[in-house]
Symmetry: C2
Subunit: 422 residues, 2 copies
Amino acid sequence: MTVERHLIAQAVAERRKETIAFLQRLVQEDSIRGNEAGAQAVIIEKCRKLGMELDIWEIDRTEVESHPFFRCDREQFTGNPNVVGVLKGTGGGKSLILNGHIDVVPAGDRKDWSADPYSGKVENGRLYGRGSTDMKGGTASLLLAIEAVQSLGVPLKGSVIFQSVIEEESGGAGTLAALKRGYVADGAIIPEPTNMKIFPKQQGSMWFRLKVKGKSAHGGTRYEGVSAIDNAVTVIQRLHELERDRNDRVDDPLYENIPIPLPINIGKISSGEWPSSVPDVAIIEGRIGVGPWEDMESVEEELIEALGDLKKIDEWFDQHPVEIEWFGGRWQPGSLEPGHPLIQTLSEEFQKVCAVRPVIEASPWGTDGGILSKGAGIPVAVFGPGTTELAHDADESIELEHLFKSAEILAGFIVEWCNQPV
Amino acid sequence: MTVERHLIAQAVAERRKETIAFLQRLVQEDSIRGNEAGAQAVIIEKCRKLGMELDIWEIDRTEVESHPFFRCDREQFTGNPNVVGVLKGTGGGKSLILNGHIDVVPAGDRKDWSADPYSGKVENGRLYGRGSTDMKGGTASLLLAIEAVQSLGVPLKGSVIFQSVIEEESGGAGTLAALKRGYVADGAIIPEPTNMKIFPKQQGSMWFRLKVKGKSAHGGTRYEGVSAIDNAVTVIQRLHELERDRNDRVDDPLYENIPIPLPINIGKISSGEWPSSVPDVAIIEGRIGVGPWEDMESVEEELIEALGDLKKIDEWFDQHPVEIEWFGGRWQPGSLEPGHPLIQTLSEEFQKVCAVRPVIEASPWGTDGGILSKGAGIPVAVFGPGTTELAHDADESIELEHLFKSAEILAGFIVEWCNQPV
């Protein structure tokens, strides 16, 4: 089954205005964690219009919490559903999951934004607002692709399973719940902001919390205490060494152009209560990247061992070892061979639209893709119109031209993939 | 005027039980900043019993805030008074201020305490609880000394001005208010925890708050940001260097046995909001010691210059200089020649009770003494029964035997000093 690519281009072009308005509505719904309902309602309305078979459900924690990948400190999902919309295939073709997350990270300090973080304003071809690039723009491109295919009346043998999930930014409980509900497929595309690059491999990541001890004393006789802040500096330096060691070992060519393929990010520190007291405890929180070829447990071990080594340079750490807690988010890494048909088909469609070969790289961050691939063996490609640099930052925005281009590519891909024999 | 020293010893000994009960009541009143009223009520009751002329007043900020030594971020003093109790002399003798602060620092993590931080429990000759050593034990020794002298009916030519002030731990607004109210004298003793050493010189100190900047980014692409935590580590290392440089210059023999005469204590750090984001600002709070021979302004300059130097090692600091704020507490240094009659008289009394010469040293921390000496030229000695090592720490306690010994010494001193001709 084929379809003239210029017809797809035309079907996408005809829906530009409508898609911009749709993405504006999505961005204007502030769907931070616990507040996803409004944005999901916009999604549901669109899915209904596309004639999808809808499955809207609130996650039942007891049904997912026994899964080894489950990492979630949220107790309450009432009122904020997961949404899946299915277009059933005629049979015999490859099925496809198209997955986007609806949750966004907090807007941060509003003073850093040039306009309301939820304005959705369009200027110079970009649409602005929290979530525009990560990843409501990607989701809009998925739905535009589906709509374009539908408008052309192209029959699909394999089913298309569109997913709008919650909780991606906090560890993936939404995608995990969809998987546990039985949604599997022969391939999956996640349009996270890759800046139109194709990522067959994704870095996983885990959060850690370190408790570093000291001994309090009056600041005027600080030599009678042991500063938890000074000890935290030692710990931070050890983490930097560990990061260097781990990255020195990376030889995957997909990481060639990434300065730090497996970063250890120290995101938070807090210590002390009084300027003139020696602090007796410091809490460090951070994130360690997990290579596509690694498993979580071995990376845990490596971090534990690195911090255990501290006792060799300072006997304080022998008596007071750093306490490690693995808390909050945890994203499984994902790994697909660049030669896999999913990547090949997507690359070919990219070339048809863009006239050049796509950049094939590894993502420096985790996505829900790891849950699909490690959890159910589903081949996953991450490919989307947004840009990582703008995600999680003030003045987040998306280049609309990229959104339309990726919809064209995805529409072509849907036609090809879903009509390939299983 | 003299009095047999064994009579003083006896008068003190007879009041041991009563003094322990008094100190227990004082410690059981949690007099952290803003909550000093309960402990002051215990003091007031005692002063009334001793027949002192009482002056109890709430500090009026507008009356003290124009003073160059005023450093206080507290707006509200209602209900938490300063207390001064005067025993008028018969005339012709030297007057004496006996100054103790009633405020205590917060208890910190209760889990670090073996018992309730405000228990006041007595075990193996020690009384436990926040404030026991810093410095309610010292205050109890002052009041016991006064009571012993009174009980013996010894007439005093000079007046004794007992002060129980608030705000010492936060910069001395209580002692400053007493000074502005007109309380001056020919000498002053402050029984801060010197472990029975006599300190003619006291280190001053200032608090600083540093704002260190970074640039936020997603933790997975942390190389696109600049970590405010990493920059804070650079700042901390620079502060350690500055501390080394400053202490290399100290040659006062009174500091001979003090490992770090002029410490720079980094008491607090806080940075970041999310484990997988690069933090864009870090706040450091600390305390820098000011030598008895130094003035505040030159030390300010030195710290500003040291942090300004950072631009030479990292151009980030050229574009984003560390912002420095001098906030909260500020303790003037104090300096009295070790040969001054106040020190000599106190040393002699010490020898009469303890049979050995006292250790004369410089205090490594600031007291309200600097306000009295720099603010009004009052000769000040710091001498008390507690121990610095235990101040501000968990399981703070005081050796009761030391409290009684110092009360004996102070009683003898009061008799000698207040009967010396002006």
